[in-house]
Amino acid sequence: METYLFYILAVVTVIGTILAITEKHPVHAIVYLVTSFFSLATIFYLLAAPLVAMFEVIIYAGAVMVLFMFVIMMLDLGRSDEARRPELKQWILPIILAGIILTSIGTIATGYAAAPHASGSLTIRDFAETLFRKYGVAVELVSMQLLFAVVGALYLGRKAKS
């Protein structure tokens, strides 16, 4: 049952992503993407990562995508006359390049058959312990980074006004 769900969700995710990247209208694209992210979050959940799944929904589908939406609205990029889908020939090279990477990784991955590590299910506690005990510095690092994202954004914003 869960296995089937995984494949269904996988298909949804891929289709959502494809729709998102081919959609000429940014707002619509983001909506497709949010859909895709939702199903991805579900996959995370299925893969025993509920916390990541939740953050995926909250941060990605929620905050980040909304941030995008805000910017699109703010800059008034949603007008359909401005939105133009790239011409067909522009797709060729990217698809070839991405195709090479995809097939390479894909073929390598399908040949992968390491035995799963025998372990119990991961609890939130495990997660928290790992996060704050083992990777405490990482948290600090990322928090500094967030701080400087603010600093940078403010700097850009401030100077632009003056």
Binding site: T3, A49, L75, T130, K134
Partner: protein, 102 residues
């Protein structure tokens, strides 16, 4: 483990590829370009989560979470830059920004 790790990896590879295509194709729109990168990062997160599930350790999930935080920082800075540039040139087409060249 509900599915073989390989399937997760294939899904991630497909997402990664799609993200890459998005990034490369949508040069006329920096927003879409950033979205492409987000898709690629999501693919990476999927691999982490899959790996974490496969090995039964939480490191991967932590990494995924941190990626999320990091990418939101990155996106916010990038979008600030986009806004800033849009104010100056009234466009988000990155190819319009080509004063720096030979």
């Amino acid at each position: 483990m509900i599915v073989p790790l390989a399937h997760v990896l294939v899904l991630a590879a497909v997402l990664f590829g799609l993200g890459l295509v998005c990034t490369l194709v949508w040069r006329s729109n920096v927003i879409m370009l950033l979205i492409g990168i987000e898709i690629m990062l999501n693919a990476a997160m999927l691999v982490f989560v899959g790996g974490s599930n496969h090995w039964g350790v939480a490191d991967g999930q932590v990494f995924a979470l941190i990626i999320m935080a990091m990418t939101s920082a990155e996106v916010s800075l990038a979008l600030a830059l986009v806004v800033y540039l849009h104010r100056r040139k009234n466009t988000v087409n990155v190819d319009e920004f080509r004063e720096l060249k030979d």
